[in-house]
């Protein structure tokens, strides 16, 4: 029998931590700092309104772009919170999570051989999405010395005639790095000068702890060449609901909508109803959760530094990104032994691409009690080395 699997599908790497996953599942009493999702339940007002809508028989397809009321509410929300201007009628698409938004955006952009720059360390799906669309992912390293922000010189170095777009994610998963307006202006100059498109994944926007989030599309003249991605998963503890959104200027949005129509039709209606309720009534729930993350961050990062794992203070998201340099172990060895010997699960930084090696991603979206227990176990582990 022939090998029916396409070369693209064959060559994309499997998710880097499959073996960790199986190992952790087989063990008892594991504290997992490996989970990139809130530990809170979805606020009840959101759940309740979605349950009610199901009882009322709201169970059919929605318009491809998403429920008009949701797009309208979102358009207002983005304007109020970030100064972003997107028309509810033709510049917003509700997607099945940011994952789908990312995929359809990339597919709309990439021709065979196009190079797409990815600021790394980055979320694991960016590069495979580009590969699957027939493009070439090109990492741009964000280094610890730049506080994991995207350095304009590093960006310039990677631009070739084939470069079409730049993908960024700030606040960043896995580093927690944030770009302020000045940082973004420096990047904007290059993006505009080199005539690139910007894809910005801002799903952690609400989880910004110092000052307020700067939406990339509000910087310089980036709006007309930016696709903004965001979603409800992280801010409202709605990961399983699968609701994200994509915003882009009208013409671009129309093209992307074609792909969304064919591959997804629409995002799940019960998720969209919940998302609408989130915008209407969950502001305070969200603020309470964000505040709790901030307390945990301060406590956890201080704890990591105290036990000897040097960690910069992450300004956003809910990840600490300590370095393991000086322990004599690679990030993967460290993570594997820590799991086996002390039953604490963390993700090796190398999973997130260049710049991630020698680091660990530790999600502090777990209770303070668990964080303290994890710190105690990590301390024992470090002393045993």
């Amino acid at each position: 029998m022939r090998n029916f699997i396409s070369e693209r599908a064959r060559t994309i790497p499997p998710s880097g931590i499959r073996k960790f996953f199986d190992l952790a599942l087989s063990m008892e009493d594991v504290i997992s700092l490996g989970v990139g999702e809130p530990d809170f339940r979805t606020p009840w007002n959101i759940c309740e309104s979605s349950i009610y809508s199901i009882e009322q028989g709201v169970t059919s397809y929605t318009p491809n772009k998403g429920l008009p009321a949701l797009r309208e509410a979102l358009s207002n929300y983005l304007k109020q919170h970030y100064g972003l201007t997107y028309n509810a009628d033709n510049e917003i698409i509700i997607t099945s999570g940011v994952s789908e938004a990312l995929d359809i955006a990339v597919r709309a952009l990439v021709d065979p051989g196009d190079e797409i720059l990815i600021a790394q360390p980055s979320y694991v799906s960016y590069a495979p999405c580009v590969t699957l669309a027939g493009g070439k992912p090109v990492p741009v390293e964000c280094t610890e010395s730049d506080k994991f922000r995207l350095n304009p010189d590093a960006l310039l170095e990677k631009i070739t005639r084939k470069t079409k777009a730049l993908m960024i994610n700030f606040p960043n998963n896995p580093t927690g790095a944030v770009m302020n307006r000045k940082d973004l202006e420096a990047i904007a100059d290059i993006v505009i000068d080199k005539d690139l498109l910007l894809v910005t994944d801002e799903v952690y926007a609400e989880l910004t702890y110092e000052g307020s989030h700067i939406a990339a599309a509000t910087v310089s003249d980036l709006w007309e060449r930016t696709i903004t991605l965001n979603g409800f998963s992280k801010a409202y503890a709605m990961t399983g609901w699968r609701v994200g959104y994509l915003c882009a200027p009208k013409d671009l949005c129309e093209t992307i909508l074609k792909i969304h129509q064919y591959v997804m039709l629409c995002a799940p209606v019960m998720g969209q109803v919940g998302a609408l309720e989130a915008l209407r009534s969950a502001e305070e729930d969200k603020n309470n959760m964000v505040n709790e993350y901030r307390l945990r961050r301060n406590m956890f990062v201080a704890g990591l530094n105290r036990i000897g794992l040097s960690t910069h203070i992450p300004e956003g998201a809910f990840y600490a990104f300590p370095t393991v340099k000086g322990t004599g172990l690679s990030d993967t060895e460290f993570a594997e032994r820590l799991l086996k010997e002390q039953r604490v699960a963390v993700v090796p930084g190398s999973v997130f691409g260049v710049g991630g090696e020698s680091h660990l991603r530790c999600a502090y979206a777990v209770s303070r009690k668990q964080l303290n227990e994890a710190l105690a176990r990590m301390d024992i582990f470090l002393n045993s080395l």
């Binding site: 931590i17 960790f20 996953f21 490996g34 990139g36 999702e37 530990d39 307390l295 993700v347 303070r368």
Partner: protein
């Protein structure tokens, strides 16, 4: 009172057993600074007391709690204050509030049993001057107290890893 003080209050309201060191780490203050702030808040009377939220039903204690609504004729010059303060002094009165709506004062009263509560109301509260009417509601079961759920909730399962 600044933002740090407010943060300390919120943290303590949720868990008053945390040490000054732990609280300090959460809000980027030293232990000494945190202790001083807590002490100042205590001295100023902002922090009244440190208590526990207890599910008495689970503890096997059969105390009876009731909400008592009072219609009261306010006093010239004092309004409701004097009578409210007078009622507050009773050990049995756990909370007392002035309300808008169909009645004036709302009391949370606890006693060892139903007789205990009704004796308290009929002997001490109802005969008091200026109290025009009382309505006593026995609490049958508490599901939530001070923001804390008193029923068991199932833990949702999470994956050990996700990105």
């Amino acid at each position: 009172m600044d933002d740090k003080d407010l943060e300390i209050l919120r943290i303590l309201e949720d868990n008053s057993r945390l040490s000054a060191q732990e609280i300090g780490m959460m809000i980027c203050l030293t232990t000494v600074e945190t202790e001083a702030r807590i002490q100042a808040l205590e001295t100023a009377g902002v922090i009244r007391k440190y208590t526990a939220v207890i599910n008495w039903e689970l503890a096997g204690n059969g105390e009876v709690s009731s909400i008592i609504e009072l219609k009261v004729s306010p006093e010239r010059d004092y309004g409701y204050d004097r009578i409210a303060e007078r009622l507050s002094r009773f050990r049995q009165v756990k909370s007392l509030r002035l309300m808008t709506g169909t009645y004036d004062l709302q009391l949370l009263v606890t006693g060892r049993n139903m007789q205990d509560v009704s004796r308290f109301v009929s002997e001490h509260v109802a005969p008091m001057d200026r109290i025009r009417e009382t309505a006593t509601h026995i609490i049958m079961k508490s599901y939530k107290e001070n923001g804390n759920m008193l029923f068991e909730q199932q833990e949702a399962e999470r994956l050990p890893y996700s990105f």
